[in-house]
Amino acid sequence: MKAWLGLGLTLLVVVAAAGAPWLAPHDPIRADFASSLQPPGTPGHLLGTDQLGRDLLARVLYGARLALFIGACTVVVTAVVGGVLGLVAGFVERWPSTAIMRIADVQLSFPFILLALTINAIVGLGLRNIILSLSAAGWVIYARVVRGEVLSVKERDYVHAAAALGVGRTRLLFRHVLPNVAPSIVVVASLQFSQFVVAEAAISFLGFGVQPPTPAWGSMLSESRDFLYVAWWLAAFPGIALALTALGVNLLGDWLRDTLDPKLRV
C-alpha cells in the first residue's frame, strides 16, 4: 500500500517533469504584468499567477524538472564517489582506509545543510555548482555504509574461495564483492534522493543555489514570502510539489530498504 503510493507519487512527479514542455499551459519565464497575482482557478491559469504574471502551474511543472535533475545528478555523483571510496576503504587495509574514514569523520562534524550551503556560497551560484556542493557534502554516508558492508562481505566463504582459486584482487572486488554490496548502495541512494531535493530547495530558498527567474521550487518559495499577505498560492503550491516529491521518493526508499536490506539503518 505504502509502496504503491510511493510509486504513484514518484511517477506523477516524473511525468510532470518529463512532460513539462507539453503539459505547461504557458511559458514559465515570460512575464505578463497585465495578469499578475491572479488567484487559482482564473481561466487559463489553473494555479494562478505570480507577481510578474507568470503562470504558477507552468513554473511548478518546470520546477519538478529542475528538482529531479539536481536530485538525480547528485545521487549519481555521490553514489559513485562515495561507493568507490567505501569499496577502497573496506577492501584495502592500512592507510587508504584510515585516511578515507578520517575525512568522513571530519565531514560528519558539520551538519549536512550547513556544509552544502557554505560550500555553495563559496564556489558560486548556478546549476553545476549546487550539484557540486550537495555532492561534496553528501558522499560520506555511502562511503560509511559501503565500507561496513565490504568488511563483512569480504570475509564470506565464496570470496575466500575465489581468492584461493587465484582470482586477482581487482576482479575479486568488482565481480565478487561489489555485486553483494550494490543493494545497500541502491537503498542509500533512494533514501538520500529526497534529502538532496529538499536541501537544494532550502539552499535556493536562502538565496543561494538556483537563481530566479529559473523556476526552482526553493527560489519560488523565497519570492513568495514578500506576497504572503496577498497571494497564499505562491507559497502553497511549490511547497506541496516539494513535499509530495519527498513523500513519494521516501516511501519508495522505505519499500526498497524493507525488500533489499532490512537491517540497514539510515
Binding site: 557554505t118 556560497a121 499577505y229 513523500l247
Partner: protein
C-alpha cells in the same frame, strides 16, 4: 571506562583540529581567498594591498599555522561588516540558538517518544496508524515550507502569533515546532522500531509467561532495554538540529547562530562565516562525544569495541 574516555577525548580533539583544517581549506576552494575577505567596494588596484595586509602572500603553511593558532584561541579576525571580533558575534548569538534547539528537543521528547512507544505497544491499532502517517508526512515536509504555512495561518490569517523575532513564548512557538517537526518524526520512528525489537526478545516472553502485568512488562522490562538505542540515535540526530536551525532561524528572523551564518554568507563576511561554521562544528562534535560517552556508560559492551 577511563581508557575509553581518554581515547574518545583524543579522537575528538583530532576531529576538531581536522575540522578547522577543513574550514581553512573551504575558503580556498576557489583558489583565491582574498576575494572573500575584503570589503565589497574595494578598487581593483587595492586588491594586492589587501592580499599583502591579510597575509595571503605568505606560504600556505604559515597561513595555516596562523589560522589554527588563532582559531584555537577563538580569534577568527574582525567582521568586515560590523568591525567587531567575529567570534564575539558568534558567542553572542549562541544563547538564542540553544533556547530554540532546547525547546525543539523538549517538544520532541514530550511528543515523539511516548507516541513511538504507544504505537509499538499497540501495533496495528488506531494510534499506530495515525502516528505512522504523521511521521511519514513529518519527514517529507520541508521545514522551511512548514514555517511559511504556519506564518500564513497563525500570523497572517489568525494574527495569534508574531511572524518573527524573539522575546515572548509566542515568538518561540512556531520556530520550535518547525525545528522539531522533522526531528520528532525521526525520533518517533526510531522509538517505535526500538521498542518493537525489544518486544521480540525472549526475556519479554519470559516476563509474560511468568504472568507479570502488561504494564510491568512494558514499563520495566521493555522500556529500560529500548532506552539505549533511543538515547543514542536521538542524541546523534540532535546534532542535526543545529543544521535545521540555519533554515528555521532565517524564516522566523530568530537572532541565533544559524541566521548569523546565513547573513554572513549573504554579506560575504567571511571572518564571521569561518567563526560560525567552525564553532557549529565544534559544538556538534562535542555533542557526539557526550552521546558516545553516555552510550559507553549505559552499555559496557561498547567500551571494549
Amino acid at each position: 571506562m577511563r581508557r575509553y574516555l581518554v581515547a574518545r577525548l583524543a579522537q575528538t580533539l583530532l576531529v576538531v583540529v581536522l575540522s578547522l583544517t577543513a574550514v581553512f581549506g573551504m575558503v580556498r576552494l576557489t583558489g583565491d581567498p582574498v576575494l572573500l575577505f575584503m570589503p565589497m567596494d574595494i578598487q581593483a588596484r587595492d586588491v594586492e594591498e589587501f592580499r599583502e595586509r591579510l597575509g595571503f602572500n605568505d606560504p600556505l603553511a604559515v597561513q595555516y599555522a596562523r589560522f589554527l593558532g588563532g582559531a584555537l584561541r577563538g580569534d577568527f579576525g574582525e567582521s568586515l561588516r560590523y568591525r567587531r571580533d567575529a567570534f564575539g558575534l558568534v558567542l553572542e548569538r549562541l544563547p538564542a540558538t540553544l533556547l530554540l534547539a532546547g525547546s525543539a528537543l523538549a517538544l520532541t521528547l514530550i511528543v515523539a517518544v511516548p507516541l513511538g512507544v504507544l504505537s509499538a505497544v499497540r501495533r496495528g491499532g488506531v494510534v499506530d496508524h495515525v502516528a505512522t502517517i504523521a511521521t511519514v508526512l513529518g519527514q517529507a515536509t520541508p521545514g522551511f515550507w512548514l514555517g511559511l504555512m504556519l506564518i500564513y495561518v497563525f500570523a497572517v490569517q489568525l494574527r495569534w502569533l508574531p511572524t518573527g523575532g524573539m522575546g515572548t513564548v509566542g515568538h518561540l512557538a512556531m520556530p520550535a515546532v518547525v525545528l522539531a517537526a522533522f526531528y520528532a518524526a525521526r525520533v518517533a520512528r526510531l522509538t517505535r522500531s526500538a521498542v518493537l525489537d525489544t518486544l521480540n526478545e525472549e526475556f519479554v516472553l519470559t516476563a509474560r509467561a511468568k504472568g507479570l502485568a502488561e504494564t510491568r512488562v512494558i514499563g520495566k522490562h521493555t522500556l529500560r532495554n529500548s532506552a539505549i538505542p533511543i538515547v543514542t540515535l536521538a542524541g546523534l540526530e540532535a546534532g542535526q538540529l543545529l543544521g535545521g536551525a540555519v533554515v528555521t532561524e532565517t524564516i522566523f528572523a530568530w537572532p541565533g547562530l544559524g541566521r548569523l551564518t546565513v547573513q554572513a554568507l549573504l554579506n560575504r563576511d567571511f571572518p564571521v562565516v569561518m567563526a560560525a561554521v567552525s564553532f557549529t562544528s565544534i559544538v556538534y562534535t562535542l555533542m557526539n562525544l557526550v552521546v558516545d560517552v553516555a552510550y559507553g556508560w549505559l552499555d559496557p559492551r561498547v567500551r571494549r569495541a
